[in-house]
Amino acid sequence: MTVAIDRATGKRRGDREPGPGRAGRLRRGYQKHWYAYAMIAPVAVVLGVLVLYPLVYGLYLTLTDANSLNTARTIGVNHIDATYKFIGLDNYADILWGPTAYDRFWSHFLWTIVWTAACVALHYGIGLGLALLLNQKLRGRTFYRLILVLPWAVPTFVTVFGWRFMLADGGVINSALDFLHVPSPLWLEDTFWQRFAAIMVNTWCGVPFMMISLLGGLQAIDASLYEAAEMDGASAWQRFRFVTLPGLRSVSSTVVLLGVIWTFNQFAVIFLLFGNTAPDAQILVTWAYYLGFGQQPRDFAQSAAYGILLLAILIVFTSFYRRWLNRNEQQLAI
């Protein structure tokens, strides 16, 4: 998409004579840009009011000891004023190296990293495999595609309920395992199997998006490249390695980034699969939600502090990812 931006700029420069000097161009630019700013204004206002303001407010909350007992609230006709106080960076210190920091933050952090890496790798690997299969001339491939998109078509909150029936002790999966005389794990109770189940369900939910995006990317690769490669005697693996993968670069870098962001913040799957019953299978997002809304008293300050930490992790990751892409002379397609 970066290419498109450059093209857009090129066109725009082309249709108006470039100004004589830098100052002239700036002045002209200003008159021109007035429209651009007017056009992005609605979104800028909405994001400013609904995202930036809450974000600043949230940042402030993380520096206090706000919880549901000391914030302003109305009970019946009585309005109780907020009594929480400013405590500086104590929340962050407590989360990162407080007495039980490992049990609360770092263990969830590690699991979140494993969760994200495993899910995105599985999404991408399986999605690419299926996309390659669907990109062949194959009888019934439209039919296969329609079926394979199904997990995407049904809202996550519905499918996760379906999975809960299947994973329940005595549900169809364990019955099948019993039938095969394989020991059946307690999917919804044992920590390891909870995590295993969460990755499995999320993989099931996320593959269609990757598959379809990569299929789109595969179809955009010029077929003559394959013919040329074949002419030069390239094997199937070499064609995949030197034509397909480079051709998919920009799609891949985009979907992997989106995949990481979405998986890292994946709330619905774990929340709906376990509710509050699996403290060790919570990723940071669901854990932060639990702190702020799943317990009494609600710990608003810590929950918001987790949120800020999560955001920071993602921003750092994205910056490095972008720099890494640029070093490899790839561009992010979004």
Binding site: H33, I40, P42, L47, F157, Q219, S303
Partner: protein, 302 residues
């Protein structure tokens, strides 16, 4: 509206696959085993994709709440009684109404606001452009927990907790940046000559946008609308925190509340889930071709 998309995909399909197919068929003829293996893998994958949904439908037909533990028994006594009960004796239609109000509101506001932005970032390179794009990307990263606490506070100050408008505003924050991205991708595919023609005829950029580009961008707008709709429809975290009275639950929250309120009547839950899933899936299949075009429009070009 959809004709443009169909044309483009048909054009793309007509341009490339013949070449590709000739190539692959030649390769395919060489190994029958390869094509059998492809079919095998695809069939297994399809079964895996299909099974959980099919299983849910099957369970929803069992009359007893513990039928999911011995599903073999359902076969002999299938009934639609669960569906009848859900429709007649639960808040299902209230939830449906809430879901529709919230999703349609989000969709309308989201698309309207995102459209001009998508156009601006597609056509104009202005100072602060890169920063603005970065902000749009960063907004994608907000975990629920960052905004949820302060938004809860703000909405309760504004008395917008348990209010459709509150939820719509919250959803707009997640939906708008991505819609702007999607629409930018689509606007990029509209020839720039059209803008030039408009300007030559004396239209301002606003005039060009409203009179020339917007009508051409209908398929793109549809894609963004579908995306907004699907996102708002399936959101759980904000909905379950900000909607308090059970006649205002969205379907996502309503389904969740079923376990406790109806004494774990799994059969009713399954029926409700199917009632939600079927229209959603049908809707999705109607639009998925467009959705895919929109998603990959930007990504595949680089």
């Amino acid at each position: 509206m959809s004709s443009t998309t169909v044309e483009t995909s048909a054009a793309a399909g007509g341009g490339r696959p013949p070449k590709a197919s000739r190539r692959v068929r030649r390769r395919g003829e060489n190994s029958l085993a390869g094509s059998l293996a492809s079919h095998g893998v695809l069939i297994v994958a399809s079964l895996i994709a299909l099974f959980p949904i099919a299983w849910l439908v099957y369970l929803s037909l069992g009359p007893d709440k513990d039928d999911y533990l011995h599903p073999g028994g359902i076969w002999g006594k299938m009934t639609f009684a669960n569906y009848a009960f859900v429709v007649e004796h639960t808040e299902f239609f209230n939830w449906l109404k809430s879901s529709l109000v919230v999703t349609l509101g989000t969709t309308a506001i989201g698309v309207l606001i995102a459209a001009t932005t998508g156009y601006a970032v597609s056509r104009m390179r202005f100072p602060g452009y890169k920063k603005f794009m970065w902000v749009l990307l960063v907004t994608q990263m907000f975990p629920v927990a960052v905004l949820m606490v302060p938004m809860y506070q703000i909405l309760s100050d504004l008395q917008l907790i348990d209010n459709y408008l509150g939820l719509i505003l919250v959803y707009c924050t997640t939906v708008i940046p991505y819609s702007a991205w999607l629409l930018k991708g689509y606007f990029d595919t509209i020839p720039f000559e059209i803008d030039e023609a408009g300007r030559v005829d004396g239209l301002t950029p606003f005039g060009t946008f409203f009179r020339l580009i917007l009508p051409l961008a209908k398929p793109g707008l549809a894609v963004a609308a579908f995306y907004n709709f699907l996102t708002a429809f399936s959101e759980v975290a904000f909905a379950s925190t900000f909607m308090l009275s059970d006649d205002k639950y969205t379907l996502a929250v309503g389904l969740q509340s079923f376990v406790s309120e109806h004494d774990a009547q799994r059969n009713l839950m399954a029926a409700t889930a199917v009632l939600i899933a079927i229209p959603a899936a049908v809707f999705f299949y109607l639009v998925q071709k467009n959705l895919v075009t929109g998603l990959t429009a930007g990504g595949t070009k680089g």
